[in-house]
């Protein structure tokens, strides 16, 4: 009997992905993800937050096995993904770790009805079901994500559904495969604000009622706070900070997290506009030298930051940051 509390549902170990760019004459390497070690447990929503270029989408694709890692390993339920060879194994993994995509308008094939994807998914992943059983399962999944009346909506074509409805279809498709972990790549960023909450509630429901974990990739910290249990902040391919979401937001240790939080517009906060010097340009990490990748924008950078890449260190139980300057006992270091 394995001790399931020790081994998280999904774990990465120094996951790295590089891309070769440039012509044959001047080959350079883009470091999209470097040395990322994260863990996702059962029945939890982990938010992976960062700006564009931070590597969060690349991580999603690595976990979905759309890319192969340059180095490092991904372990799902204790088993390394590189050991998946046969089509059966791969299919099983894909059923346990499905993906929900960002753009509802391009994630559904316009030629088929809304039921197409989910019925195909059921055919592939639960072949023991009869045709009628598949149809019933699909209906159940649609209802579980709030698409009612399910039978009627399943008959519609994508262009007859709103963006929010299409994203729910995406979640239903994932749910039908009886997943353990759903990779949600910015599922609400292209939806209207008043509809986002509905989808975020669907995700929370999936965790609470269906016991599914979700990796929620986003650039919107507020929505991450609303729905996630833990928050991982990424910057330039590295993890900058990780920990329980309330803890990270209340006591951010990494200067980048602090910058991010100060930039989030909050209508309920006081009106104040200060001299803004940070232009918000996340770097393209090409052939980087050792050292913290945030050092050029960091007001707290010390000598060590320019020569030694800070490792992700646990400062307080459960809360880690990759920063030489961060200290466990420090009060929130003011950014300005």
């Amino acid at each position: 009997m394995t001790d399931t509390t020790d081994e998280p549902l999904l774990r990465t170990d120094r996951l790295t992905r590089h891309f070769k760019i440039g012509s044959a004459l001047s080959r350079r390497t883009l470091h999209a993800v470097d040395d990322v070690s994260l863990a996702i447990g059962a029945r939890e929503i982990v938010a992976l937050a960062g700006e564009s270029g931070s590597g969060k989408t690349t991580i999603a694709r690595l976990l979905a096995k759309l890319y192969q890692p340059t180095s490092g390993e991904i372990y799902f339920a204790g088993r390394p993904l590189s050991s998946i060879r046969s089509r059966t194994d791969l299919l099983r993994y894909r059923g346990e770790v499905p993906v929900v995509f960002q753009d509802p308008f391009s994630a559904t094939n316009p030629v088929f009805r809304a039921s197409h994807g989910i019925l195909r998914a059921l055919t592939l992943h639960r072949p023991e079901l009869s045709r009628q059983q598949r149809y019933d399962e699909a209906q159940r999944a649609f209802e579980a994500v709030g698409l009612a009346p399910a039978a009627e909506i399943m008959q519609r074509y994508p262009h007859e559904l709103s963006g929010g409805q299409r994203q729910r279809v995406g979640f239903a498709q994932a749910l039908a495969m009886r997943p353990k972990l759903i990779l949600a790549d910015e599922p609400v960023s292209m939806l209207d604000v008043s509809i986002r909450i509905g989808l975020l509630n669907v995700m929370a429901d999936l965790r609470d009622k269906q016991g599914v974990s979700v990796l929620y990739i986003t650039h919107d910290i507020a929505s991450a706070r609303y729905v996630a249990d833990r928050l991982i902040v990424m910057y330039a391919g590295h993890i900058a900070e990780a920990g329980p979401v309330e803890e990270v937001l209340a006591r951010p240790r990494h200067p980048y997290t602090q910058l991010l939080l100060s930039a989030v517009p909050d209508p309920r906060a006081e009106l104040h506009v200060t001299e803004e010097t940070d232009k918000g340009e996340p770097p393209r990490v090409i052939d980087p030298t050792p050292g913290c990748r945030f050092r050029w924008r960091c007001p707290l950078a010390i000598d060590e930051c320019h020569s030694v890449t800070p490792p992700l260190r646990e400062l307080v139980p459960g809360h880690s940051a990759a920063c030489h300057v961060a200290r466990a006992d420090a009060a929130t270091v003011a950014f300005r």
Partner: protein, 325 residues
């Protein structure tokens, strides 16, 4: 994918909002996408005047090709009549220098031309789809080699190549003509379809299919190609048109089988007998005009499919809105 641009376009996204709710969604099993695509195309053809004209013309030719005996009562090959007769009620177009009824020849020749048009059109488009879409979707080395092959064929001028191959085969039957045309014409369409498939490649629904666990062949055939139906139909029409022109040209220069009844062979015989100089203009004009009209029918039909692909070309036939100021 970038944010949807809110702005003014013919589809009016910034104004009237939201999709309409499905009114009468058909109950029962989903109609296959082919039926839906067909009805969409039928609607497009009906709403475009040029395309409707083309459809009607093509329809007439098809009817003639299917039931030539009903329209022309004479045997096109029988040299049963007096040669070089002019137009009369007995012989609507007159007779050839061999005493054959020209009208019968034109009518019966329709069948041959249509067969070439449709079969060569389908074959050309079919090969182009396989090569173009596979190249786009498989990428990498597959794309490299397939594209190289396509490009090499593309660079060689089609018509001289046609002549060379046909001559090598010592002219030939209709089958040979179809083969020769197909082999030389698919490359252009393959290039077009590859571009289109490439632009679709990053659509999330393809990644979604892959992540669902679908095999690559399934994705190409079931997910990619159906989204390209209008382009495929447009390519088919273009290829059919060129097949008619190429086939007739080959027959005209004698590389077809001179004994087949076809418009191109009529031109061949007319040329051999110096029809225009000897006062039998209909021998050349009739088949020539038919080739032109059939070609025009295909070209006109194509307008409807241009519009499906590019809504901005749609002619505005909507309720007028009175402008202020």
């Amino acid at each position: 994918m970038s944010m949807p641009i809110s702005g003014v376009s013919t589809a009016g996204p910034a104004g009237p909002a939201g999709p309409e709710p499905a009114t009468g969604a058909p109950a029962g099993p989903a109609a296959p996408p082919a039926t839906r695509a067909l009805s969409r195309m039928a609607r497009a053809v009906r709403s475009n005047r040029k395309a409707t004209v083309g459809a009607v013309l093509l329809g007439i030719f098809i009817l003639v090709g299917l039931f030539p005996g009903l329209i022309a009562h004479d045997n096109p090959n029988a040299d049963a009549y007096a040669p070089r007769l002019g137009i009369s009620t007995a012989h609507l177009l007159g007779t050839t220098a061999y005493g054959q009824d020209m009208f019968a020849q034109v009518i019966w020749g329709t069948r041959n031309v249509l067969i070439i048009a449709f079969v060569a059109g389908l074959a050309t488009t079919g090969i182009a789809v396989l090569v173009g879409v596979a190249a786009a979707y498989l990428g990498g080395l597959w794309d490299g080699s397939l594209s190289l092959f396509t490009d090499v064929l593309l660079v060689i001028p089609i018509f001289p190549l046609l002549i060379v191959i046909a001559a090598y085969l010592h002219g030939g039957t209709t089958i040979v003509l179809i083969l020769v045309i197909t082999v030389t014409s698919w490359s252009y369409t393959a290039r077009q379809l590859r571009s289109q498939a490439l632009s679709l490649r990053n659509r999330d629904f393809l990644a979604a299919a892959r992540v669902r666990g679908e095999r690559r062949l399934y994705i190409i055939v079931v997910e990619v190609i159906p989204t390209m139906t209008s382009l495929l139909v447009a390519c088919f029409l273009t290829n059919a048109l060129y097949a008619v022109l190429f086939a007739s040209s080959l027959q005209f220069i004698g590389l077809g089988d001179p004994n087949t009844v076809s418009w191109g062979t009529m031109l061949y015989w007319a040329q051999n007998n110096a029809a225009l100089q000897t006062g039998q203009p209909m021998w050349a004009i009739a088949p020539g005009a038919c080739i032109a009209v059939l070609g025009a029918a295909f070209a006109l039909l194509n307008y409807a499919f241009d519009e499906i692909g590019n809504p901005a070309l749609r002619s505005v036939r909507r309720t007028r809105v009175k402008r202020a100021g």
